[in-house]
Amino acid sequence: MKIGILVNEGPFTHQASDSAYRFARAAIDKGHEVPRVFFYNDGVFNANKLSEPQSDDRNLVVLWSELAREHDIDLVVCIAAALRRGIKEDILKEGFRISGLGQLVESGIENDRLVVFGD
């Protein structure tokens, strides 16, 4: 089954990104497809490659990027939400791309499910 994911909060401040990441991994482990994860609201902060959590803490920016590379997931950061929050190409982690909200609607149309994680 194809499952789309929407993440509305940044890493660390809320658990939303952690939950979405664990869910995505479990879905893939069970043989499902996660074609796209869309990042909206503060979710755009998940793409900030400057993030440097303490060494004994998880780094969600890296985890998403690696998961995307391994399983060919399209990580899309909303351009409008990213601009006002100062997430630009210069600081975008590998594996993420900036695009429009239409990609979220498409995710809803093309996937069998859409699961939303937020505050």
Binding site: N41, I109, L114
Partner: protein
């Protein structure tokens, strides 16, 4: 092409419901959710927008943000009609708990009791909330 393949094609219309449960200005969710709805309207899908709990405050008339320095986006709800977003539901219980009536709202809506809204929610294909 088999018949079921055609059913899975891009021309299938899905029912999208956008749920607003948060007040405006205190957080950005109301504004950014509205931005999603305006984009979604451009796709040939069935779109409905729901306001429950503090989300009903988004539609309150007479918003004036001059003194807080934030952009007043309440007039943008009027654009929903231009974008052919016509299914706009407001939960009656949420209005009543806040001492509001339909007359307080900036656009015409369909006010529904929880029991009726529940039926409409259960008919959606995709529910997006924030």
């Amino acid at each position: 092409m088999e018949p079921w393949e055609e059913e899975e094609g891009p021309e299938v219309v899905k029912r999208f419901m956008y749920v607003n449960r948060k007040a405006p200005y205190g957080t950005i969710y109301a504004l950014e959710n509205l931005e999603v709805v305006l984009i979604a309207a451009a796709f040939d899908q069935d779109v409905s927008v729901v306001f429950v709990d503090d989300g009903v405050y988004q539609l309150k008339k007479s918003q004036d943000t001059a003194a807080i320095g934030m952009k007043n986006f309440s007039n943008t709800y009027r654009a929903l009609d231009d974008y052919d977003v016509e299914k706009i539901y407001v939960e009656q219980e949420s209005l009543e708990a806040r001492g509001l009536t339909e007359d307080d709202l900036i656009i015409p809506v369909e006010v529904l009791a929880a029991e009726d809204l529940r039926e409409i929610m259960a008919q959606q294909d995709v529910v997006i909330s924030s």
